[in-house]
Symmetry: C2
Subunit: 233 residues, 2 copies
């Protein structure tokens, strides 16, 4: 089922109940590509269909994001997505809502500047629960790590239309600077497409988070393989 795995140990680990227990790959390796959901961009396909294709092609992480959905709807969506994601041995994150993430048995939550601060999440979350935090500069990233963030989502790297409030792009130079400044994996986000992956993969970033490039792709599998291939340098 998981073409990307090359070792028997990893194959064996894919059957584990808790993907966080997969010690055969580092967290950085498991964050090479985070597929972030967007129902509008996935339409007319369902988010589930797009995510299933991405997982099939080897995407190692999925983040459920839907700023407009009430908690009950997120829970409903997340039950299907979380099951799909965990069956594929990938990590499952929920954007913003720690409570929904906990209710879903997700591996972690991703928080941004309008969400709960990392320290508050860390205090309320169980041991081993992963916390991602958005940061567009080294100072914000350092504070997030000090407060307990396990990875940094760094951007906007390139100009994008999927996040209206994204601010001005930091470019791959900005991404590289942040990635070199902290000890945890840094994942670039914002406007990243397969044809820009060579430039992104040349930075110190561990991975990328994609919204539009995957959700809006005609051939989801091809995008995922191209992005994962770019890291295999």
């Amino acid at each position: 089922m998981s073409a990307r795995r090359s070792t028997p140990a990893a194959e064996a680990a894919s059957g584990a109940a808790d993907p966080r227990a997969d010690r055969s790959r580092t967290l950085a390796e498991r964050l090479r590509l985070i597929v972030v959901t967007d129902a509008g961009l996935a339409a007319p396909r369902s988010v589930q269909d797009v995510v299933a294709e991405a997982l099939q092609a080897g995407a190692p992480a999925v983040q459920l994001r839907d700023k407009r959905a009430p908690a009950r709807e997120l829970l409903r969506l997340g039950r299907t997505l979380g099951a799909l994601t965990h069956e594929a041995g990938a990590l499952f994150f929920v954007n913003d809502r720690l409570d929904v993430a906990l209710a879903l048995g997700a591996d972690g939550v991703h928080v941004g500047p309008e969400d709960l601060p990392v320290a508050a999440v860390r205090a309320a979350a169980p041991k081993g629960f992963l916390i991602g935090c958005s940061a567009d500069d080294a100072e914000v990233a350092a504070r997030a790590v000090a407060d307990g963030a396990d990875y940094i989502g760094c951007g906007t790297v390139f100009r994008t239309s999927t996040k209206a409030d994204a601010g001005s792009p930091i470019g791959t130079k900005g991404l590289d600077r942040v990635a070199r400044s902290v000890s945890v994996p840094v994942v670039g986000i914002g406007g990243i497409t397969p044809d820009r992956m060579r430039e992104v993969a040349a930075t110190a970033a561990a991975g990328v988070a994609l919204v539009g490039a995957v959700m809006g792709a005609r051939d989801v599998g091809a995008v995922v393989r191209a992005v994962l291939g770019a890291w295999a340098r």
Copy 2:
């Protein structure tokens, strides 16, 4: 500071760090009036100012509700409100977001039909954490109680303009029916004003939750005293 308290035991309990530990009053007594926040209705006054007045007049519970505020803003608002509320020996609830409630050290969370289900909240919440659940009929209320709800918010009792999606009013008959059907306190909500309290207090409900009647009141203290007085039958 708290004129409503009549016994030395209650006075002593008001200094306790955790208002849930106040065993001198039953939960039903502490839910006689839940003041639900609404920044728009409080304007031009701040929600904090209105809540402070309500607490001063003896309101035994406050619920922070702001469907549009991101978590970070809820946390900021909630820190002030929670401190005010706990200083007054009252219970502090957060609407919808269990994660924000936990981060604030609130006494409980209130969930409605679009929020996390009671069972999911109960599974993720610490022991003793209070859960309120909206229900407009006995069947929904019974399920919520079976899943772990500590009280029921029941309504819409009367037609109201503060909740656009409120559905058709159940009246005091509907409220009474639900209140008699479950073992936990039932709190009427929706369109309740001081001049309707005689009718409401004649039901089996334990208390009321007020939004507009307190937030939009010229004399907040007078409204709170009138409502609390109506229960002293």
